[in-house]
Symmetry: D3
Subunit: 227 residues, 6 copies
């Protein structure tokens, strides 16, 4: 039995398109092979003038192809303004994200990390946890936070919450698929040594893997698990 066999309906919440690939791309590919459903919820969309419409369309098309390649079951966009979530009333964000998650009804919830430098990530984490409050037996059995290169290392670890992983998903057989999916995000790809480069993604996956004697892994910090 696959150790991921309990993950049957997985919701991956991403503040911006590509966070879900950086954080969980290999896990998604493995879940797809296992026959599990993966539902991506992308909270924001770039708005003009900060983000040119052309760029936004490009990113959305890149995400579409990456999701197809990884085997994502469904993708939802909530269309809140990117980089401006601090202007959105928390009750509005909670309500919209809650409806999307009600719709997915996941047993497993994968979230951006509260210690990421981007305030959008922090707010999305909080809103998802409000939804996940165990006020009934249908709350998700597993909630984990993923790490996002170019966000997770750059707030102030030691003062702000540090990403200390305690769950490792073996992606030894899925690393190339993850890299290939991210390579398709040409608008977001940077040259090494930028964290958003293929070399950095590969190095992190190998380092996380070696921590647990695996060729590659995606690391998570667990929030809550009910067995």
């Amino acid at each position: 039995m696959s150790p991921l066999a309990c993950w049957r309906r997985v919701a991956i919440v991403a503040p911006h398109p590509d966070d879900e690939v950086l954080g969980c791309g290999g896990t998604i590919a493995r879940l797809a092979k296992d026959g599990a459903q993966t539902h991506v919820v992308i909270v924001t969309t770039g708005q003009e003038p900060r983000f040119p419409r052309k760029l936004v369309e490009t990113v959305r098309e890149e995400a579409r192809r990456a999701h197809a390649a990884l085997g994502v079951t469904t993708t939802r966009y909530l269309d809140f303004p990117a980089a401006e979530l601090d202007r959105v009333p928390s009750s509005d964000l909670n309500a919209a994200l809650g409806r999307a998650l009600d719709d997915v009804a996941p047993d497993t919830l994968l979230l951006p990390f509260i210690g990421d430098i981007h305030v959008d990530h922090q707010l999305v984490f909080n809103a998802a946890l409000v939804w996940a409050r165990p006020r009934g037996a249908s709350a998700p059995a597993r909630i984990l936070a993923y790490e996002t290169l170019s966000e997770t290392n750059w707030w102030a670890p030691g003062l702000t919450p540090a990403f200390i992983p305690n769950v490792f998903v073996d992606i030894g057989d899925e690393l190339e698929a993850k890299l290939s999916a991210f390579a398709g995000f040409e608008s977001q790809l940077k040259a090494f040594p930028d964290e958003r480069s293929l070399e950095a993604i590969r190095a992190l996956a190998m380092a996380r893997g070696a921590t647990v004697y695996r060729r590659a892994a995606e690391a998570y910090a667990i929030i809550r698990q009910v067995l």
Copy 2:
């Protein structure tokens, strides 16, 4: 599929007899029902004159009955001196505990908590983690620390490691079996409001359960999980 279905060979390491019941009694009972193996390793045995031989024999018999009632598969005693583990060279403790765990070859390892006030608990935690280093693919897939009433709350939480649970095992159907098993430890049972009373054990199980909308739960702090 039971959410505990991945736990097939479970090692429960206890510094002293009864820690495994206080911390994991309900989980053990549930695993037994699920057909999983549970192997208890008890690290110390009371030595005279600190612990009268008579008392030691009584406790061992109480443990035997409790384990039988809960459905424990095997019980091992390493016979290090109780309350004197700080006199034992760490290499000796590591070696003996390592042999026992090699023998069990668990996929899941349940440990006392490093922040327990008893130095025996702290040292057992450390020795077990030395064994569990992921130096090969056979290291256990899951390592969790359990909480022990009369130990876990009484060091200096806030200064010493605090028990902040993130894994909850539903023992709604096993709480009575746990209480019954502990009630048989007459030599260790105290009157409420002592933490080692049936009332305190029940209250903690209900409080941990309500945290995740379950009637009763045993709580764990995860150390490492590989999926």
Copy 3:
């Protein structure tokens, strides 16, 4: 001399009605018996359409009766919009809460916990601490944070501030009064295993009590004490 003898004028700040009963109901009842003054400041009021007027009136009446039963000296409402405090400028919240606390002039200040999942709780905590800055000899001698079932366990302990209690108020003689007061909050009461049930409240009080060899206790995390 009662160990609570130094608490003569106590302000209890609650984001929403019933938080003060869940967190401090037993303490309030005990202080009333001791002849101390207890002043409750409730920061928000539900606004339509999120909260129907009828419900709001019901809750206020329930609070009135609960406060009377516990012996609360005075109750103030600041009437900020519930679940929308993140839209209120912090300077407005600071000013209004500051005026109320100036008026009470407490020697002891009981606050919701900054690690509660509800952003209203977090913001009320912060605003109260701004008021309590020791810029003169009249700042309160004691500031403590209380725990609130259905809020305190449900953010992300381990990543967000964890409630690690270090002050325990014995409510062995007041637990029934607390339960009775909360039972009167019919609009807020849930069936076990919800955290807002009488069973969960009782279990937590017994578990917190047993930690310090008392039949029941309310637990607090100290912020600052001057002796």
Copy 4:
């Protein structure tokens, strides 16, 4: 070679005028003697009616004189409303502070501490770190947070980030200059035992100094250093 020899272009970001003197006044004076450049960026300005125009002008003149006395190279004001930064969109704050820091192009960045009680301090810390993300080789080599009497001790250390210094700048020869500079801030100076008194500033400098066998020191918490 002076141990500060690598600090050639130093940006000191202050939420309000005088924070930079309280936190870094001695360091600035020492850098000036060493021939380094120090650029102060003051993020907010008091706005009427909260802050009378007269007072604002007085404070600005006091800052001008203090900066001249300490040898500050340049001073910039961003003129966001004081005590109201929580109403400013984070993207606006990020943009304006980013432009100022681009202009300075510092190798060393000194920031208010994220655990200060004033939300302006917290938000300025975050905005500066957004700018300082290492997305290129020109990011500052050193980022440190300074402590501010009347802010840093008064949030909820233990629950909110605690100021635990790990870098100490010897100001044994600059303490008197720092005290003299702050003495000129007559509008902000208070009588001991207020934290904003000369006696408190001197006591803290001596206590921080003795920690590392120096007559006086300013303490910092390091965020990131690249060598």
Copy 5:
């Protein structure tokens, strides 16, 4: 009523003579004025050849005079070897310290800090907490850890437990008595900027005092309080 009125029988545990003066000298003097009993337990005594007999006798005489000046009620020596507590079985240390504390039967227990760099301090802290486990109603109502210049700042705060004070005892009227008592410890007194100098002690007391608007204070980290 004095805010220290609940402290009637106070045990101060010191690893080595003078720790109790550095950490609690002002508090002791104030308690003496209030009519409370203060019982000092000194755990170690220097042994030859590490500590010449002559020096040990000198220190003991210095302690005698300091205690008399401060108004200490009783002083006990347990005579374990100084700087060698790591060679003493924890069960022996627990037993001897336990007997001394049983004899004192304190309502308030003042301990060295677990994050002090000296392993003797760490071990004494642990042994005292073992004794203080709340296994009955007679456990002390208050347990606090004091800070010791030349120990508390010098382990690795941030990695090892940091001293984050949350209880402040006003010693504005007792600071001179504390300084005078420590001045009599000529064998231990160092010249400023050593932490064991009168200037450093005064600076720390003033800095701790200003944190809570007092002229001088001794700071403590609370471990547990039952009210």
Copy 6:
């Protein structure tokens, strides 16, 4: 001026041979190029029967060659028994390590991390900090802890001290020299995905580097720096 220009006499303390290469190999190579002195102190030596004499000699020869390749100035062995430091009185370890460090008189001290799983690492960290107490002006100006693959990730991060790096040394030009030096430790080298493989070392260096926009870096946690 090189940002490492202040590091003139660097002591690297290693519990066992190869820790200094895993943790600081690139930094050592860079310092050598810069003309700085690097002095390695290796605390333990394997003793029979645990470690065959033949193996010990092999390892020592491997270390000799690696040090020569990296440009280490001097290497000292203290010859305490490997994996048995917990049996050594702390006063003996403190004394011997202190003498070695007195001899080196470093301005910069590089230590194993206190959160490493191996108790030898923890004890060496503590002993070095005892020596480094700032009891005079000659204490080292910088103390940093390095990370060691196969030790630093395998205790219980989150419960035991987590390695959260805040100092990054660019080893983009020295990574190949580091890998080559470790490749010569044939007795210690493992096949990927073991952490002690060349692939894991390279992946970690690239991941640490990308965090700060460098091709490769060694990461450190700062303990104390005086400027």
